[in-house]
Amino acid sequence: MLTGILIIFLFIVSLLLFALPNSKHIKTIALLGSLAAFGISIAMLFQFLNDCPCVLTFNPDILQVLGINFKLSIDGLSILLILLTTFLTPLIIFSSFENKREKPRAFYALILLMEMSLVGVFAASDVLLFYIFYELALIPIYFIIALWGGKDAKKITLKFFIYTLIGSLLMLVAILYVYSLTPGVHSFAFNSFYNVILTGKAQSWVFLAFFIAFAIKIPIFPFHTWQPDTYSTAPTQGSMLLAGIMLKMGLYGLIRFVLPLCPVAMKDWGFYAILLSIIGIIYSSLIAIKQNEMKRFIAYSSMAHVGLIAAGIFAGTFNSLEGSIIQMISHGINVFGLFFIYEIIVRRTNNGNISSLGGIASKAPIFAIFFMLILLGNIALPLTNSFVGEFLLMLGIFEYNAYLAFFAGFTIILGAVYMLWMYQRVAYGEVKPATENFHDLTKQEIIILIPIIIMIFWIGIYPSLFLKIAEPVVRNIISMTNIIPN
């Protein structure tokens, strides 16, 4: 019930913002709207926790054509990703308060529309509904980047749009194929899909279609080339939405569809999918070392971390799946943190080039501390959120194949290499002309950073709430894949 309210509420706020005249109140309304949405999802969380074993459904009998249901249901994976979405969106909105954007009402309306679609993706319990939200999410982000983006925004966005759309179409074909095999009256409901038993060969094709669709979205090497350009041209809020939340749609899809629908194909092809993911980890980590533009740097580092999550999902062990869910949350939080740090630097210096920065730690010590804390989260230092996730991911991959875990482990070393070198060049050393007037954090910036820091250490030190919520989902998925849980 609350899920439906949440989606409708976001839709209404978004429409409202479109309808209102441009004024300085627009931001505030958007922020309040997104905060209210966060409040609703917290209420959902409590309802969910009281109601274990934990499935909330919302199924108004409005659409029943061709077995399409407007059915939303919430399990542990959904609730965690919805919470991530509704937690990050207010922060993303708040982080843009200092920017002077043209047409603010459209900007914020699109962000909320985006939030709505993302919640829809994570809540849908019907494959076609999932697909609709999945595609719907592309529209606001397309406009956000194309209209408020930097250099070459239109061209780059078009490439991003077409690239992901091709993937989506492949997925649509696969969805329709599986739909045609659903037993009894054809239905798009998740449960009908899960009841389909595909032949080994069919599984391979379905796997391939889903894999390409999600590999582009996540992105997995070598389907990633849209990403650095898009991140670097997008307004920072756009990059935050993309990296923080949107790419989780791909990972979510892998867990929801690929694992349960294609267990046999997973046995045949999973190894190669992991291999690609791990090549991507090492490849993008190496590239990140010498990136000079901070946003591209973040793009490649993010790709490395996400590659590990994807590898863990393909490994399909209990530990790696649990780790992947924790790490999806952690990655969203950390990558938002990094982009916000970038945003702060650009606000002060108009410059996102690592080589022209330096000495910030002596000018702005508090900023340097927050920066360091977020960095620690990113290099998975124990007691930060990423450690819990990456430890479980690597443990799970190790259980799948020890050699793959060894190569995946390079992320530990290379992550430290590129992160620390970047930090050193930005924060340490002598002050440079660009950083001459770098003032320390404002109250508003601290308010945005504190929730991030809290989450980094909460998940790092006491992750049991998150582990507990994720556990039944993982057990469920494992039982469907018939991969023997360890």
């Binding site: 080339t225 620390l420 340490y428």
Partner: protein, 632 residues
């Protein structure tokens, strides 16, 4: 008191948070006093716990909360309090406290005073977690945490990129080791289904000696130890780490953090004795490192670098001890080394302080009478590390030498050579720094304040007396430390002893005193060269003899690593981005896009608007389909 053990790491953590949140507010030495008090209270609690464990011979596990728990995995935040961990507690909080007090004087006036003490307290917190953890993952938290603090403190003066590079190098080299450690942890979990020490060691008996699984696990753990304890091939970060303030070198890079590898292997002794191959490798790596680092130390000209290589060498010595199964010897030497090496570093810091930051020994000399307390304590440290009886180093080294002899007399011979090298470079350092040289004008030097000299004196006393804990049976001693640690090591030593040949008391005495005679010869040799002949190390621009040059240049390890790893990685980064990423993958994607556009453009010409053409195309198509249907 044992149930309050969590206070021991908690207090430094609180100290850290208190200082971190007030780092702009605290003035003067407030933060130093807070940090020192936190460690002091921890020390008192540790002492009480130590005495309880010592008298009751009991061990305890204190569980705080479940950290990672779902499905079958259950990793708890819990502490194991036994002989080994309490011994480490005493060293960490005791030596840690003295170094904190010393730092109040040493860091006075530094603009990062508060930052310094917050990092130091955080370090102690993580170090305590490392030794208290009751499973490998809690140990790993501390393991990586101390690495972080080491990084922050090496690069403490971050305006100089030289320091930052040293810090980064330390962290990355440690992380290479950590990957090994982590893979070891995965294997442990895979084969034992738990990460708890007790659970694993209990099940270890099911494996036979020489089992390949155990060999791989122990080798992976050893890789972790190599990184943290600066052994070949991952030792080059430690000398660079001297870029940090001297108290940091004393605490982190001599007394505590770098010994974590020794502690970890000693803790896992039950596993390691099951793999004779691993033990042999550990012994070889240890003795080789000890030998090479000792050689390099002889030719260094920076007071802290000499001590750094000396530390690497002594750590190698401890690994030799572990490798030959002399676990008690390793822990004993770890303890005495913590005292005298911390003492030497702090005394060196006092010299540097007296000379306003000068670290080049070629610019020193004649400080004997100017800074007498520093001199005297440095002298004690030098005697202790050289293994001259009855100072502590003699007893701990002896324990290792006997163990080495029992295993393999070649180890013994090399170990004796290493220990003579130690004597040589330490006395070389002592003579050059403190003895007067006529051709030089007098240096201006001032003795350090009391809060620096008192810790020196206490450490000096400990360096002299700590040997009393390990007086061997031949001397009528009762081997206090051996008995104390026996619950941890007995089983393992028994396994080792099966293959070792017992030696008689007379041989033991002989083995003990042959090195001592040589030590005195070497002390005189150093005296002859550096005091009588007043020889000074060559200036940097002066040409050195071939052999000396190689050791002066640290055997070119840095250059080799640069050529083998750093440069290729940077090259690869450029290559992957500029060629593979932009010219291959992205171009292919764009070409695919262009192909679509091109197809569209081409096909567009068919749409001529001519109805006749459309009809024609339709008829042709129908015919084609019919043919297709007919024949297939």
């Amino acid at each position: 008191m044992i149930e309050y053990i969590w206070l021991v790491p908690l207090l430094p953590l609180i100290g850290f948070l208190l200082i971190a949140f007030n780092f702009k507010r605290f003035q003067g030495s407030v933060s130093g006093i807070i940090a020192s008090s936190a460690i002091f209270v921890s020390f008192i609690i540790s002492l009480i716990v130590f005495i309880e464990i010592y008298s009751s011979k009991q061990t305890a596990t204190v569980q705080l909360f479940h950290w990672i728990k779902f499905n079958k995995i259950d990793i708890s935040f819990s502490f194991l309090i036994d002989q080994l961990s309490t011994l480490m507690l005493m060293i960490i909080t005791g030596v840690g406290f003295l170094i904190h007090v010393y730092s109040i004087g040493y860091m006075k006036g530094d603009s990062g005073f508060n930052r310094f003490f917050s990092y130091m307290n955080l370090f102690v917190f993580f170090m305590l977690l490392l030794v208290l953890g009751s499973n490998y993952l809690i140990m790993f938290i501390g393991w990586e945490g101390v690495g972080l603090c080491s990084y922050l403190l090496i690069g403490f003066w971050f305006k100089k990129h030289e320091n930052n590079n040293a810090a980064k190098k330390a962290f990355i080299m440690n992380r290479i080791g950590d990957l090994g450690f982590l893979l070891g942890i995965f294997m442990l979990y895979y084969y034992f289904g738990t990460l708890n020490f007790n659970g694993i060691f209990f099940q270890a008996h099911m494996f036979t000696i020489g089992n390949p699984t155990i060999t791989i696990i122990t080798l992976l753990l050893f890789v972790g130890a190599i990184g943290k304890s600066a052994q070949i091939p991952l030792f080059t970060w430690l000398p660079d780490a001297m870029a940090g303030p001297t108290p940091v070198s004393a605490l982190i890079h001599a007394a505590t953090m770098v010994t974590a590898g020794i502690y970890m292997i000693a803790r896992s002794n039950v596993l390691f004795v099951l793999s004779p191959i691993t033990l042999l490798i550990i012994a070889i790596v240890g003795i080789t490192t000890a030998l090479l680092a000792g050689g390099i130390a002889i030719f260094q000209t920076d007071i802290k670098k000499v001590l750094a290589y000396s530390t690497v060498s002594q750590l190698g010595f401890m690994f030799l001890a572990l490798g030959v199964g002399a676990f008690t010897g390793a822990m004993f030497h770890l303890t005495t080394h913590a005292f005298f090496k911390a003492l030497l570093f702090l005394a060196a810091g006092s010299v540097i302080h007296a000379l306003n930051g000068e670290q080049d020994i070629r610019k020193m000399g004649g400080l004997k009478n100017k800074i007498p307390i520093t001199f005297f304590t440095f002298l004690i440290g030098t005697i202790a590390i050289s293994g001259i009886p009855p100072f502590s180093g003699f007893f701990s080294k002896d324990m290792i030498l006997i163990g080495a002899f029992e295993a393999n007399s070649i180890f013994w011979i090399i170990a004796v050579i290493v220990s003579l090298m130690t004597t040589f470079y330490m006395f070389r350092l002592l003579y050059i720094v403190f003895w007067k040289r006529s051709n030089k004008e007098d240096l201006h030097a001032h003795e350090s304040p009391k809060n620096m000299t008192i810790p020196l004196m206490i450490l000096a006393v400990l360096s002299v007396l700590a040997g009393a804990f390990g007086i061997p049976l031949v001397f009528g001693g009762n081997d206090i430390i051996g008995n104390f640690l026996s619950p941890i090591f007995t089983e393992s030593t028994n396994i080792i002893k099966i293959n070792a040949h017992e030696i008689s008391h007379n041989t033991e005495l002989l083995l003990m005193f042959i090195p001592v005679i040589f030590v005195f010869v070497v002390v005189y040799l150093a005296y002859y060269v550096y005091v009588k002949q007043k020889k000074l190390p060559e200036a940097d621009n002066q040409k050195r003899p071939f052999f000396s040059n190689i050791f002066f240049k640290k055997l070119y390890f840095d250059e080799i690593y640069n050529a083998l790893f750093v440069k290729p990685a940077l090259w690869l980064s450029d290559f992957l981005h500029n060629i593979i990423e932009l010219k291959v993958i992205d171009r292919m994607v764009n070409q695919a896009g262009n192909l679509v556009v091109w197809t569209g453009k081409t096909i567009r010409y068919i749409q001529t608007g001519n109805v006749g053409f459309y009809l024609f195309a339709m008829v042709i198509s129908i015919i084609l389909i019919l043919i297709f249907k007919l024949f297939i």
